[in-house]
């Protein structure tokens, strides 16, 4: 492009992205909200009012916070899992299906594989283990196919989502159905994760707060994943394999084994999300209990730069968006913002590789 003796060029940057990595997510969120504001205004609404409402509903009160954390919990667990797989450049987009399988296994335990009289800690522990095992298996299948036969995990994890969904539907409509409705009977109370409102006798301010122990599980998971990725030998192998697969091979790292393990770990965490959802929120399995937590988790993990603690923060933000956007008309604003955030991030990745250079156009010739 040339104008009046000056020329403007798009030049590829040479330096790596360390300096802008922390800026990326913040800028992306702000840019997404600005773009969203334009769209909202175009629809004839006041963006400031809508954003204010979202902020107030999600973070303006104890109840708001409680609801936000409830929504954030499954996103956080799935997001942590997805971040591990992505770190190894395994594009697991099957967290949703793994969450469904986890919910199914946990429901199986609660609905009769263990008697209703089982003590609550035992019941919950077995449910969690069963959910993790089911999710892990659902993740290990694509992992094994990838490691042994080079099948793209993008396709297999995506397709297994539908299989998981149909699998749960069959149980919900069939053997586990309550009087023909598409939901199971309620779990015995021994299979309920404790809620903050259960402790209302300790402090009246806890009453009505539905936040449950799942958030605690998610935070513990964040600690574990963080230690695993930054401190452990396995995490080192995962990072090396992700950033330099050929170098990992030359260093003799067990890539095939770790592919299966990483996807199984993602699955286990997503499965745990499913358990936390059925045991903490709905107390039964029904056909549409997840609004796509496993997909939102992909955006969250990416936005968080695959860092476990950033996943925690971003999950809460996205949980707030879900809560705050619930009563907003037109509906779909939260989804629109989510989509915009992803779009901006992906776009920024490309744009950040270039920079504008303005120079004097050479004279003569």
């Amino acid at each position: 492009m040339r104008a009046g003796g000056w020329q403007v060029r798009l030049e590829e940057r040479l330096e790596s992205g360390a300096r802008r990595s922390w800026m990326g997510p913040g800028v992306a969120i702000v840019a997404a909200f600005l773009l969203g504001a334009v769209l909202i205004a175009a629809a004839g609404l006041d963006p400031l009012q809508i954003y204010g409402h979202i902020l107030h509903t999600a973070f303006g009160s104890a109840w708001g916070w409680s609801d936000t954390l409830v929504k954030a919990t499954p996103i956080m667990l799935c997001g942590l899992g997805v971040a591990v797989a992505f770190r190894m450049r395994l594009w697991n987009i099957g967290a949703e299906g793994q969450l469904w399988m986890g919910a199914w296994a946990a429901s199986g335990v609660a609905l009769g594989w263990l008697p209703a009289s089982t003590p609550r800690p035992v019941m919950l522990a077995v449910m969690a283990l069963a959910a993790m095992a089911a999710g892990a298996a659902w993740g290990a299948i694509p992992g094994w196919l990838k490691a042994r036969m080079g099948v793209s995990e993008i396709i297999t994890t995506l397709m297994l989502n539908y299989v998981a969904f149909q699998w749960v539907c069959w149980f919900v409509f069939g053997p586990w159905s309550e009087r023909g409705f598409q939901l199971t009977p309620q779990f015995p109370s021994s299979a309920w994760l404790p809620r903050l409102s259960d402790a209302a006798h300790l402090s009246p301010s806890f009453s009505g707060l539905t936040v449950h122990a799942g958030i605690g599980i998610a935070l513990i998971a964040a600690v574990v994943v963080s230690l695993l990725m930054d401190r452990s030998r396995w995490g080192f192998e995962v990072r090396v394999t992700g950033d330099g697969p050929r170098a990992a091979q030359h260093a003799g790292m067990p890539i095939a084994r770790n592919t299966v393990l990483a996807l199984a770990l993602t699955g286990a965490l997503s499965g745990l999300a499913g358990m936390s959802e059925v045991a903490g929120v709905v107390h039964r399995l029904q056909d549409r209990f997840s609004p796509g937590f496993g997909f939102t988790a992909i955006i969250v993990a990416w936005l968080a730069g695959l860092r476990p603690w950033a996943v925690v923060v971003v999950s809460v933000l996205f949980g707030g968006l879900l809560v705050g956007g619930k009563e907003i008309q037109p509906a779909g604003i939260p989804q629109m913002l989510q989509g915009l955030v992803l779009l901006v991030i992906v776009g920024a990745e490309g744009i950040a590789r270039y920079r504008l250079r303005v120079s004097r156009a050479e004279a003569g010739a």
């Binding site: 330096e15 030998r233 396995w234 090396v240 050929r246 170098a247 030359h250 260093a251 003799g252």
Partner: protein, 516 residues
């Protein structure tokens, strides 16, 4: 240092005159106020280390880059090239290091590609006739109807030159043309180039091989850090040592001081080894090889003779078709890469940026790429990060790695420093045998010197080194024994005393020696 004005001006008219050329890339000034003169009828060598700016300068001449400032005159006329097409139209042809050929097309079709006329229909027989005539006239023999994938690297290079000539090139630029050729092919190519300049054409030879340049070129221009440090000096007026000093900016030890080897037991051995390449064909066949402790065995051969497949099979990265690999006297044919590492096999891979290191990770983590599994770095399930940093600091000092700190990303290091990181890792593991594949490819003279010293030091400490290199000078100056490979077979074994480039060159072409 001699100044340009010290030399007599050549009598021939100027073909190219570049004046005050500047070209900046983000973070570097590739060409800083560069003047370059090329005469008609001369072979002019452009020398310099990596990053000296020689390829950039010639890419500007060939229209690939536009200079930020400066001018180009072609036969006295001011020109301005907006694209390679402009440059080609004005008779400038460039043969790049990476050939720009379509392997599924024939030689003639490749020559026809990019021709302005005809636009749609190509008369194949006519082109084939033309290419045939051209190749006969210039002694660049190649079958016009052969598919490019069937050709050897040397033949492909001839196709590139023919392509340029067919488009009417008067000025031919060759970027590192001899890297892929055997000595005989090099000699033949220089002969062909000489014939071209005798017809009044001009040739620019971009190179860093001193001997070759002194043999083939009429005049030399040397670049360092984007500037010209010697301009148009007649080749017969200078020496190898002086050239090296001019290129590097300090005296360089070209001939290594080598103690006689005192080899011990075999540490690495193959017997009747056969390995398949990526296309499923046998790339290594019936190869017997023995590396003893305390010696350097060099593998010589033109590119693609099976060196890559051999080194990968030794490291356990490529399955062995038949035959056996022994490490330290034990059958290691079926061992995994990790088992071989644990048994004391070090490996300096060919592609250091992709296979040897992880660019996104720090120097410290790259140094720990193999050692993380064992104490002191491993502590239970954990990795001791403090220890990792401490070790990295020690290695950076010990191996004189130029980097801001231990966590500097490996991808930001120069080739020489990255290779030092890789060598530091492999050497510190205390190997019994080391496979070094193209350990100095693309490195400048200073870094090459360091790598050579490290390899010799390793040998003197009793490690068996297998040196795989396409650089014959390197093989000759480091090896105690030399094995020549051609099409996957060993075509000869020579002791360092008996070895000379001519004998090796013949074996590289496939002639088996008597004492093999």
């Amino acid at each position: 240092m001699a100044l340009p004005s010290d030399y007599p001006e050549p009598q021939q008219p100027a073909a190219v005159a570049m004046r005050s050329v500047c070209k900046r890339f983000p973070g570097v000034v590739a060409n800083d106020d560069v003047d370059f003169d090329l005469r008609e009828g001369e072979i002019h060598a452009l020398l310099g280390e990596n990053g000296a700016g020689k390829s950039t300068l010639m890419s500007i001449l060939a229209g690939l880059y536009q200079p930020d400032s400066g001018s180009i005159r072609l036969h006295g006329e001011l020109v301005r090239f907006r694209s390679p097409r402009d440059a080609i139209a004005r008779g400038i042809g460039m043969v790049h290091q990476q050939f720009m050929l379509v392997s599924s097309l024939t030689v003639a079709e490749n020559v026809a590609l990019g021709m302005p006329e005809p636009r749609f229909l190509v008369a194949r027989s006519r082109i084939e006739r033309e290419v045939h005539a051209l190749s006969e006239r210039h002694g660049l023999h190649v079958d016009p109807s052969a598919f490019v994938w069937q050709l050897s690297v040397g033949e492909q290079q001839r196709v590139e030159i023919l392509k340029a000539l067919h488009r009417g090139a008067r000025v031919l630029v060759l970027d590192e043309p001899t890297a892929v050729l055997s000595p005989q092919e090099v000699a033949a190519m220089f002969e062909a180039l000489r014939a071209l300049v005798d017809e009044g054409r001009s040739v620019v030879l971009i190179s860093h091989k001193l001997d070759e340049v002194l043999r083939a070129a009429d005049r030399l221009t040397v670049m360092r850090h984007g500037r010209i440090v010697a301009s148009g000096m007649p080749a017969r007026w200078t020496t190898r040592e002086e050239l090296a000093r001019t290129m590097v900016g300090r005296p360089v030890l070209l001939d290594l001081q080598k103690k006689p080897a005192s080899p011990g037991d075999a540490v690495l051995r193959t017997s009747h080894l056969a390995v398949r390449g990526d296309k499923g064909l046998l790339s290594v066949r019936d190869l017997d090889l023995e590396v003893r402790a305390g010696e350097i065995v060099g593998i010589a051969g033109v590119a693609g003779s099976g060196q890559r497949e051999l080194s990968e099979a030794l490291a356990g990265l490529r399955p062995v078709e038949s035959g056996a690999v022994e490490l330290g006297g034990r059958d290691a044919t079926r061992w995994t890469t990790r088992e071989r590492i644990d048994a004391g096999l070090g490996y300096v891979p060919e592609d250091r940026a992709v296979e040897g290191a992880v660019g996104a990770l720090g120097i410290d983590e790259n140094l720990a790429l193999k050692a993380y599994r064992k104490p002191p770095l491993a502590r239970g399930w954990q990795i001791d990060r403090e220890k990792m940093t401490q070790i990295a600091k020690e290695r950076i000092r010990e191996f004189d790695i130029a980097a801001p700190g231990p966590s500097t990303a490996a991808g930001t290091l120069s080739g020489g420093n990255l290779q030092k990181v890789i060598l530091a890792r492999e050497l510190s593991a205390g190997p019994k045998a080391l496979v070094a594949a193209q350990p100095t490819r693309g490195l400048d003279i200073g870094a090459t010197e360091t790598v050579h010293k490290l390899l010799l030091g390793l040998r003197d400490k009793g490690v068996g080194v297998l040196l795989i290199s396409e650089d014959l000078e390197e093989i000759l100056s480091l090896s105690d024994r030399i094995v020549v490979m051609c099409q996957g077979r060993a075509t000869g074994t020579l002791s360092a005393q008996d070895a000379n480039p001519e004998a090796i060159g013949l074996m590289m072409g496939g002639a088996a020696s008597e004492d093999a």
